[in-house]
């Protein structure tokens, strides 16, 4: 076993269970096409909330609204950090990131020409304080800061077991590893909330197991709130505390995995679309 993680990863000051993010009556449309119609959702500190639903249900749109890439036409999204509340709809993506809302993307969006290490250091951006001249001279506080961030990043590298690739260019890595680096880069922001858009898409079962283990570690040991979009129902039902189900831009159910599984509306939404919800582990094909 490697040395333990010595840094705080979680920047939230709330107690577990307190409301951290409140989405209220959010409407989003592109031209005449409604992507989200009246979504309301509460996210609590230190929970793993899965957002599921058939393709095109609006899952990624909701995530993009939270991280500021899309601006909803109606509704509010409020973030609580324990002292103040912040209206996210008025803020730009980089300002939302600075509040501690980190994310990964469905199609990997890494800095492909940079090394793993530099990708993680870029993730530390919002926490770096020293000014340009100090860093160029590598002097005094800048030097101490650099060393501290290098150590912090090494801890993330240990946590995600990517020691052997730390100096590799990200673009050259295998898909599963890239997904892991993207998670690491989001962690380097010391997030209060981590938004993961299909962190296991396209992975084999071994890679999925690893990823699920990392997500659980991050959540259990560091108490980071995780909002996760995932299609693999086995994983979703295993690791999430709560599940929200979207269909055609509306939330049709919300609750514990068991409640959601038993909800007739959910069954209906998935019927004819994807039987995965009900055939967990069976691996049957529906020809």
């Amino acid at each position: 076993m490697l040395r333990g993680f010595r840094h705080t990863l979680n920047s939230s000051r709330l107690n577990p269970g307190e409301t951290q993010l409140r989405v209220q009556n959010v409407h989003l449309s592109f031209g005449g096409v409604a992507a989200l119609t009246g979504i309301s959702l509460d996210v609590r500190q230190s929970e793993i909330l899965a957002i599921i639903g058939p393709n095109g249900a609006g899952k990624t749109s909701l995530l993009n609204c939270i991280s500021g890439l899309y601006k909803p036409q109606q509704g509010s999204i409020t973030f609580y950090d324990g002292e103040k509340e912040y209206d996210l709809i008025k803020r730009r993506p980089h300002q939302i990131a600075r509040l501690g809302i980190a994310r990964s993307f469905q199609n990997i969006e890494l800095f492909r020409h940079m090394t793993v290490l530099d990708n993680l250091l870029a993730g530390c951006h919002i926490h770096m304080k020293s000014n340009l001249f100090q860093s160029l001279l590598y002097w005094g506080p800048a030097q101490r800061e650099q060393i501290a961030f290098r150590e912090f990043v090494e801890d993330i590298i240990d946590l995600l077991e990517i020691e052997s690739i730390r100096n590799k260019k990200v673009g050259t890595l295998a898909y599963g590893l890239q997904k892991r680096v993207e998670l690491g880069r989001a962690l380097a922001m010391k997030p209060a909330i981590l938004l993961l858009d299909e962190p296991m898409a396209g992975m084999n079962s071994e890679e999925k197991e690893d990823m699920a283990r990392f997500i659980l570690d991050i959540n259990e040991e560091h108490g980071i709130t995780i909002i996760l979009i995932e299609h693999d129902m086995g994983v979703v039902m295993d690791i999430s505390d709560r599940v929200a189900v979207l269909n055609f831009g509306q939330k049709i159910a919300e609750g514990t995995p068991d409640e959601v599984r038993a909800n007739p509306l959910v069954v209906q939404a998935y019927l004819g679309e994807d039987h995965a919800l009900f055939t967990v582990g069976a691996g049957g094909s529906h020809a």
């Binding site: 991280s67 500021g68 890439l69 730009r92 993506p93 980089h94 300002q95 990131a97 600075r98 980190a102 994310r103 993307f105 969006e109 890494l110 800095f111 492909r112 020409h113 940079m114 530099d118 990708n119 250091l121 870029a122 993730g123 530390c124 951006h125 919002i126 770096m128 020293s130 340009l132 860093s135 160029l136 590598y138 800048a142 650099q146 880069r185 922001m189």
Partner: protein, 290 residues
């Protein structure tokens, strides 16, 4: 042999100045994908502002140079704010056209203020001839090489050590992801344009010291193209190596094959490079996987 050393020294100094102009060009391309046709005008502004500081305001050259850099940074920020930012999200060709317009505008402003006559420049770097291995070269030319080397070193530190440098590389790779890391893309563009304008101003000041100020300094803007195509549009080391190679090539061709040919040789190289290695010596090879 003396001629060879003489030409080598001349080539290296011209190359160093070309490299300084190219550095800013590459920086802008790297962070924002914009090809800046106004890079030569940044040299022009640097040279004329320093000229004004030294001749019209009678300042000591150190203060004059610092103020010139401040003005250059201001111009860079203004260009980003007034020209580039309104064009965010527009097709890249519109932005490039805007920089062509910008180059005419800046040149017109300079000639309105200072006129079109070439003027002598009070040397702020000693230009006393120095004898090296039988060749004679102005000390200011040696300074140009030294300053280019220092700038390369600083750029390297900037990109590997400073948070702005890392953020700039991040923005160059993936703007959306950079935003979601809390990086303000607009700030990074402003940084890139200011640094580009400031390095060009230093280049302009060095050229002015060697040949005096005049509107033809803006011609460096075009001479930058062979340099960056050779080195790779997005490569900082490429800008330096490309600058030195083009500088040397022009000097040797001018010295051995005759004047006139040296004016076109770099553009011949440009065409050959585009045919055989379009991403340049150090540029990122873009592979489209289908």
């Amino acid at each position: 042999m003396d001629l060879f050393i003489q030409l080598t020294l001349t080539g290296l100094t011209n190359g160093a100045i070309l490299a300084l102009a190219a550095l800013g060009f590459v920086l802008i391309y790297k962070s924002s994908d914009v090809i800046n046709f106004a890079q030569g005008e940044f040299l022009l502004i640097g040279a004329y502002v320093l000229f004004a500081m030294l001749v019209q305001f009678h300042l000591h050259w150190t203060i004059g140079l610092i103020l010139t850099l401040v003005v250059a940074v201001g111009v860079g920020v203004a260009v980003e704010r007034l020209v580039l930012r309104p064009l965010i999200g527009e097709p890249i060709i519109s932005v490039i056209m805007a920089t062509i317009g910008l180059s005419s505008l800046l040149r017109a402003i300079v000639s309105t203020i200072w006129g079109n006559q070439p003027r002598a420049f009070p040397p702020f770097i000693p230009s006393k001839p120095v004898h090296i291995l039988g060749a004679t070269v102005g000390a200011d030319r040696l300074w140009a090489i030294a300053i280019a080397v220092v700038m390369l070193f600083l750029f390297n530190l900037f990109f590997t050590r400073s948070k702005e440098g890392i953020a700039m590389r991040a923005v160059a790779d993936d703007q959306q992801a950079a935003m979601s890391m809390g990086i303000s893309v607009k700030h990074i563009f402003a940084w890139a344009w200011s640094i580009a304008a400031a390095t060009a101003a230093i280049g302009g000041a060095l050229v002015a010291n060697i040949v005096g100020v005049g509107p033809e300094l803006a011609g460096f803007g075009l001479r930058v193209f062979p340099v960056v195509i050779l080195g790779g549009l997005d490569s900082i080391p490429g800008a330096i190596v490309g600058g030195l190679i083009i500088g040397l090539l022009e000097a040797y061709v001018g010295g051995y094959l005759g004047m006139g040919l040296n004016q076109v040789i770099s553009f011949i190289v440009l065409i050959i490079i585009l045919m055989v290695r379009p991403y340049g010596l150090f540029g990122q090879e873009i592979i489209e996987r289908v």
